[in-house]
């Protein structure tokens, strides 16, 4: 039987880790904080790929990885990056976030854009544009106030980016992962080369 814990355990832990690294350890060095948070995610993704693979038994093309030598009659092999990304969009996302990725786009040249319209780790966050700026309500539409709030939320995205990068690296797919919070219908596209894949998460947050 799969062991379960309350969702608020992970929510609280992640919120606290981001707060710790952004406010206590590296208060004015957001790049350093972001790198550490992403590194934590990378660890998790790497280990998750071992455990997920143990359950789904994935055969990998030798060209992609020399690490996994498990074989299966049930699961198709990952012939290319697209198959691996599709796995992430369906099974992996389901495992982690209890839903599928809402939209997947690719330019067929190594860039993949995953869109999640209701990313659960951000779903309960509220944005108070006045919180950091101390400005009057008339300034609420100023770009600075909105940017600070978005920036605070973006720090929480480094962790899932790290998870994806770690997961894919264990499949032998080197990549860079970045994430952005967007309001529809705008979108962002990213690039990738044959050996260096850039994936981007587009995350929609309705605010």
């Amino acid at each position: 039987m799969v062991r379960e814990v309350s969702e608020s355990c992970l929510d609280s832990l992640l919120t606290e880790v981001v707060s710790c690294y952004c406010n206590r350890f590296y208060p004015n060095k957001h790049d350093l904080a972001a790198r550490r948070i992403e590194a934590i995610g990378y660890q998790v993704g790497h280990q998750l790929s071992e455990r997920v693979r143990a359950r789904t038994i994935i055969l990998l093309d030798d060209h992609l990885s020399s690490q996994c030598k498990r074989y299966t009659m049930e699961r198709p092999r990952f012939n290319d990056h697209l198959e691996a990304i599709k796995f992430i969009c369906k099974d992996f996302w389901l495992e982690l976030f209890k839903k599928h990725v809402d939209n997947l786009r690719t330019n067929h040249r190594g860039t993949f854009v995953l869109q999640d319209n209701k990313f659960c780790w951000l779903a309960r966050m509220s944005i108070d544009p006045l919180a950091d700026s101390g400005k009057s309500p008339e300034d609420i539409t100023s770009p600075t106030a909105g940017n600070k709030a978005t920036h605070a939320m973006k720090m929480h995205l480094y962790f899932p980016c790290g998870i994806l990068r770690g997961f894919l690296s264990n499949l032998g797919i080197l990549c860079a992962v970045s994430a952005d919070i967007l309001t529809l219908p705008t979108c962002a596209y990213f690039s990738l080369s044959h050996t260096y894949t850039e994936i981007t998460l587009c995350i929609y947050h309705p605010y």
Partner: protein
Amino acid sequence: MPPVAPRSGDSIFANLEHMNAELFTLTYGAIVRQLITDLEEVDEVNKQLDQMGYNIGVRLIDEFLAKSNISRCVDFKETAEVIAKVGFKMFLGVTASVINWDADGTSCSIVLEDNPLVDFVELPDNCQGLHYCNILSGVVRGALEMMHLAAVAGHKIEIKRGFNED
């Protein structure tokens, strides 16, 4: 309207949103590992884990009170029982037991026989003195402080079974 009876840990846990503990366990492990890399000193890591737990506890107590319908505890013994039977069950899905009460009734040990934080965890030799589950001590301390109960939650870590001492 008749008062709502307090609910047992099992029933509350059943009604909350669950997730696979594996992600939680791996995340906590990665956090501890990163803290060790960044801070280098085991004592400093222990301190930070406790502080993180404290910050989590002061917020988690709200959810605990809202969802458990626990009435006011009459003494510290009842408080400890509620933490062990309802609190840990509600969030971690495991029940703890309360042992080793001192003569005054102000100190006890809360023992987790089954601790999701330590699944698959092994401490290397160079991490002697690391209190791996120290975040739990902080959570309890933070939660109790919000209830105006200043507590010093000590800690005793055995990786096979996580211990909490109050």
